[in-house]
Symmetry: C2
Amino acid sequence: MPRDATLEDVARHAGVSLATASRVLNGSTRQVGRALRERVERAAAELGYTTNRAAQALARSASDILGLVVHDLSDPYFAVVANAVVRESERHGLSVMVGTTFRDPEAEIGYVATLRAQRVRAIVLAGSRIADETVTERLRAEIDRFQGGGGRAALIGQDLLGVDTVVPDNRAGAYELARALAGLGHTRFAVLTGPSFLLTAVDRVEGFTAGLAAAGLPEPLLIPGPFDRDGGYLAAERLLALRDTTAAGVTCVFAVNDVMAVGALAALRAHGVAVPEQISVAGFDDIPTLRDLTPSLTTVRLPLADMGRRAVELALATTGPAAEPATAEVVLRESTRRVS
Amino acid sequence: MPRDATLEDVARHAGVSLATASRVLNGSTRQVGRALRERVERAAAELGYTTNRAAQALARSASDILGLVVHDLSDPYFAVVANAVVRESERHGLSVMVGTTFRDPEAEIGYVATLRAQRVRAIVLAGSRIADETVTERLRAEIDRFQGGGGRAALIGQDLLGVDTVVPDNRAGAYELARALAGLGHTRFAVLTGPSFLLTAVDRVEGFTAGLAAAGLPEPLLIPGPFDRDGGYLAAERLLALRDTTAAGVTCVFAVNDVMAVGALAALRAHGVAVPEQISVAGFDDIPTLRDLTPSLTTVRLPLADMGRRAVELALATTGPAAEPATAEVVLRESTRRVS
DNA sequence: TGGGCGCCGGAAAGCGTTTTCCTGGCTGAA
DNA sequence: TTCAGCCAGGAAAACGCTTTCCGGCGCCCA
């Protein structure tokens, strides 16, 4: 198999020096005379030359790759974010390298190391931080090394000191949601909290609780569980089991993210509990699949695509702009109803 | 900012030659004595050395990147496939570079060129081919150049002569679906066909029609439209508009993919048409979000994750194994009912 | 004891670009 | 006409690795 044509092949074919060929084909501040320029271009076309990006990256010591780390591409939340990140990166002429961690913090750290080895231009890390000092510290250390080597990084989600971050306004969103639901007349709530070590989940629970308090309502019943759909399903079943005891009188349940809410909906349906007639359900994120659910799900909208876009900008900006939080907006739909 | 430590720094720090350091740190067939090996390892640790993959790729002329091209990461179909591809690639020690084309064939060709420039090890192309000879030809040419340069490629979806492909058995799946629906007593069908230039869509329509014919039923009413959710929504509305004329008597509608079916479901609901009481609906693919819909959607299951995995294997295999089609399996759910 | 052989280390030649100098020819101003 | 200054073009030194040789040493076997 004939190896790809190299720049040297082109130069020889055109009868010019390597330097000239490089200047013509891969851009430079320097000018090249019209005649030579055309000779080079013709030669390149004839040989089917394509720049070897790896070599280029080495010589320029700057790659045009952006690294993206997400938990799970098949989760709609990350799918939307990743899509936006890829799109925005392409707009900037960058290719995207993705890694999935499946919520394993070690994998996350490892992936940052891999991307650092690739000497990618920037890294975007999507996904919640964890309430584990030593793991967080190691991640930060890894990121610091990357940034120390001239790379740039941006996060989506929880803040990590010293790294630019697009933070969704989890507390405020959950706070407003609580007030809105209180406004519908609900007084007794349950919260499917997700795991207590996930800062995003914790923030939302706290914001929600604060919102209830502000409305003069008692603390909600907290039901922990995994952060995914099946976690929501199980938590909802736990809630049902408590109906006659601690959960008596609960008319509304808040799942700290949409996929959990979807799972909860499925559990309720499976157990013959009508939503919203018997119980109201709300989620958080506003993933796109929600609109096609019956009943459609009340949630707090996060500008997911926009967040992805902004993270790329943040990671590419030479100046580190302060990150204003991404505003969250309550969206009331069919899954929550007014009670007397 | 202190630039990253290089292998030469490590070698000097350890008092050995570059060659020895390389052999210790980045693998080699050759042995290195215990004493030196330890010196090198210690030096690397002290300096925080990380291999520069770009340089390594250049020197080895073989990268450890796999390129993935999909239409749209936020479409559940591609999200699942991409997830599997990333996962399997990681298992093989490869990083994945993704590109999204948003169904633009030019973008697809362009992305293959970009990946070729990166000299990625292999390319996986997910997404339907198009019934446009010249575009297809150019894509094939681009892939050929990539393979000519020593790369490997695999497709998911439509076959493209000379490239290894994981083909879902669209015809057979649609054929079986038609027979199953006929078995439920339906006789008059509509098909939301998607665009006529999408080979996947065409295959499914043809398979479905053939299945109906085999059951002794007349040809279905064909309603074209875009291949996405909103296309399904619009096509369903068109169907409703024809209820009293050409679509009279239609009791079952087949959307050639699930996201279209979801859109159709939404349209029917918006127009107060009960599914499955007034009309049955079926889709194709079995994307994961389906199970949480009400009514749950009848569909043809494709082993999406498995297809992604197999595509990676195909792209990595040195021997080009013949591609047996991925088998499609009819899954009857609540959205289709038995009629008298 | 001597001649192969096998191994371990190191020197150096790549891998395909970019970029810094250097050179020689022109231009324009004095 | 001369000289400073500019500019296009080329030679060659990076960029950070891998890998091919080559030399030297110890070992085994005759």
